[in-house]
């Protein structure tokens, strides 16, 4: 369970988020929707421990995230959180495989073989053929599948996605949604920021954010 209690986040001394008590469960597709500039991305960066809270608490499975110092939060993120972005945000000049395993070089001198094997399995499973090809040579759909593999590499318990389907065609979008749901079904925490009706249609729970405030937090879609 992700629980937020009475959170305020200010950026440039402007209040961006102002949240009451929120609880989101593992094992289902949670969706965060809302107009542009509402603070959706800020929400993700907050629950992943990147932006400091002005006030309030974030608990993951009962552990208070901001009890960890910044470096420890980075390490926690590296182990426990997989990120997916609208624009993929892969590292140029690295191969598909290296993009997937790069994150493990943050904590390992030599990347353990099982992580490398897992990366290869994920890429194969997602239909990425030439894993040693430079990232620039892949199509958008392939890039998002590589990004998906990166997010799942190391089997993190939390998947955060920021508009993961916004720059994809329907087919690729559906594939991504399927994978997110599959992860939820494995019991992971999955939260996707999206206005994509395809995503919203599959959501178990939808939070609607406007000007940093949750409008209706108990909108059960399914």
């Amino acid at each position: 369970m992700l629980t937020l209690s009475n959170i305020t986040v200010e950026l440039d001394k402007q209040p961006i988020l102002s949240l009451g008590d929120i609880a989101l469960p593992y094992g289902q597709l949670n969706v965060l929707a809302g107009p542009s500039g509402a603070g959706k991305s800020t929400f993700l960066h907050t629950v992943s421990g990147q932006l400091k809270l002005t006030q309030g608490l974030v608990h993951w499975q009962g552990q208070s995230l901001f009890d960890l110092n910044e470096s420890a939060r980075s390490q926690w993120r590296s182990k426990n959180v997989g990120f997916i972005f609208q624009d993929f945000h892969l590292i140029p000049s690295l191969s598909a495989l290296d993009n997937v395993i790069l994150q493990h070089s943050f904590s390992h001198w030599r990347i353990p073989n099982e992580l490398r094997q897992q990366a290869l399995v994920l890429l194969k499973q997602f239909g990425v053929k030439d894993v040693h090809k430079n990232i620039g040579q892949f199509s958008r759909g392939e890039k998002q599948r590589i990004a998906l593999a990166r997010a799942l590499s190391g089997s993190p318990a939390i998947i955060l996605a920021d508009e993961p389907t916004a720059s994809l065609d329907k087919e690729n979008a559906e594939f991504v949604i399927q994978q997110l749901k599959a992860q939820a079904d494995l019991g992971k925490f999955v939260l996707a920021v999206s206005h994509d009706p395809l995503v919203i249609g599959q959501a178990s729970q939808i939070l609607y954010l406007e000007r940093g405030v949750i409008q209706d937090e108990s909108m059960d879609a399914a």
Partner: protein
């Protein structure tokens, strides 16, 4: 933590900027290192040259000119030394040996030096004397072969009587006896002839007392010379020319002249010379001689001491040079550092992504530092290779120019200098690394 994977990505992504930086850095470094090592080499090599001469006695004037003209055979103009100095040196028991140097003539760019046997022995280890007055020993780099006959080109040695000198400036032929061993000094470019010959060429006679001349073999056979100066023969019976003796040549053939050439006594009408090279018996006698011969007629000079003065001048240039080198180096490094800082907007998104997927600040610090430092390290290695090549090239060019061997090699000092540059670089590389380290997540997150 292993930034290598990320570094590989950056090298690939920024290949050209990296190559350009390495090129600039290495060229700037190599020029600095090459110049400094060259400067050391010039110092060492010129010291090798000047060390062959303990004491030079010349006419008063610039000490540096005297050393450059005599030890380095730079063709400048030297006043002549009064003839009595020769007699003085003959009598002086503090003198182990001495030899005159008469400059002024040349052949095909090589100076013709009138001297005596001790100088041949001292500089070239040549044990034999000139066999006759027309013989020439040539330095290793002179383009003359043994047996070859050549005429000196007119030089600048002045006679006290212009007309007389003019009339007696002969087209004398010298014959090369043999090539001298290589010395690695400007003396490899010298043509050495008996001092008597240089006087005679300028119509000053041969410097030997006339009454003895009858008994001397000068080996002058040139018919055209004889004819040309026939008209003067009877006016010139003061032992100036060779002509006088030519009629005796055939009778005298076979007489041993070796003992005579270069050997004078107080009765000989010696002629002026450009300078004397003196080998004192002891250090004390060297100082004694120098002070005794430093008066209004002559000056005694220790070349080694003059070189120290020159090196002091060079030292100033060197200090300036190394400063300029360091400044160039710093500019190149700063351009990289500021380039990275200025292009931060470009890199910002990548750092934001890396932070989001779990990179710690220290990982980014290490990555950026290693990236910049590795470029500098590669630049350093390339620079040192370049420097080695440049040093050889500059040595080659300089050796040709100054006519003595300059052998420069990169030594420990150069590597120390390079390492010092790298050390400064490693600190400078911390600037962009710290910049990235300190940037706030709030700022970074705006870009993704």
């Amino acid at each position: 933590m292993n930034p290598w994977m990320l570094l590989k990505a950056w090298y690939r992504q920024y290949t050209w900027p990296c190559v350009i930086f390495i090129a600039l850095f290495s060229v700037a470094l190599s020029l600095g290192v090459a110049l400094l090592s060259q400067e050391r080499a010039i110092k060492q090599s010129s010291a090798n040259v000047s060390d062959q001469f303990d004491l030079i006695i010349g006419a008063p004037g610039s000490k540096i000119d005297l050393v450059l003209d005599i030890a380095f055979l730079q063709t400048g103009f030297l006043e002549t030394v009064p003839t009595h100095v020769w007699h003085d040196l003959l009598d002086d028991e503090r003198v182990k040996w001495f030899a005159p140097v008469v400059l002024g003539d040349g052949y095909a760019g090589s100076p013709i030096i009138g001297t005596t046997q001790p100088l041949l022995a001292s500089i070239y280890g040549e044990t034999e004397n000139f066999p006759n007055i027309h013989s020439a020993f040539v330095g290793a780099n002179v383009e003359l072969k043994a047996g070859q006959i050549f005429q000196p080109q007119h030089g600048m040695l002045e006679s006290s009587d212009e007309d007389e000198a003019e009339e007696h400036t002969h087209h004398v032929d010298y014959q090369v006896v043999r090539k001298l061993p290589i010395t690695g000094t400007p003396w490899d470019n010298a043509i050495l002839v008996p001092v008597e010959a240089t006087w005679a060429v300028h119509g000053l006679g041969d410097g030997h007392a006339e009454d003895e001349h009858e008994g001397h073999e000068h080996g002058v056979h040139e018919g055209h010379e004889h004819e040309k100066h026939e008209g003067h023969e009877h006016e010139e019976h003061k032992g100036y020319g060779y002509e006088e003796h030519e009629e005796h040549d055939h009778e005298r053939e076979g007489h041993n002249e070796v003992e005579h050439l270069g050997t004078f006594d107080e009765h000989d009408p010696l002629k002026p010379v450009s300078a004397f090279i003196v080998k004192p018996i002891t250090i004390a006698s060297a100082y004694g001689l120098r002070s005794d011969f430093s008066n209004n007629e002559t000056q005694g000079v220790f070349p080694a001491e003059v070189m120290v003065t020159l090196y002091a001048l060079m030292g100033d240039a060197r200090a300036l040079m190394s400063q300029i080198t360091l400044i160039c180096e710093a500019l190149v490094m700063l351009s990289l550092v500021f380039g990275i800082a200025a292009l931060f907007a470009l890199f910002k998104r990548e750092f934001a992504i890396l932070r989001t997927i779990g990179a710690t600040r220290s990982y980014l610090l290490l990555s950026v530092w290693m990236f910049v430092f590795s470029l500098m390290a590669v630049g350093l290695l390339v620079g040192m290779v370049l420097a080695t090549l440049e040093v050889q090239w500059i040595s080659y060019m300089l050796s040709n120019k100054v006519q003595f061997n300059i052998e420069a090699t990169l030594g420990g000092k150069d590597w120390l200098f390079a390492l010092a540059v790298l050390l400064v670089g490693s600190v400078l590389a911390l600037l962009p690394a710290l910049f990235v380290y300190r940037v706030s997540n709030e700022k970074l997150m705006q870009s993704i």
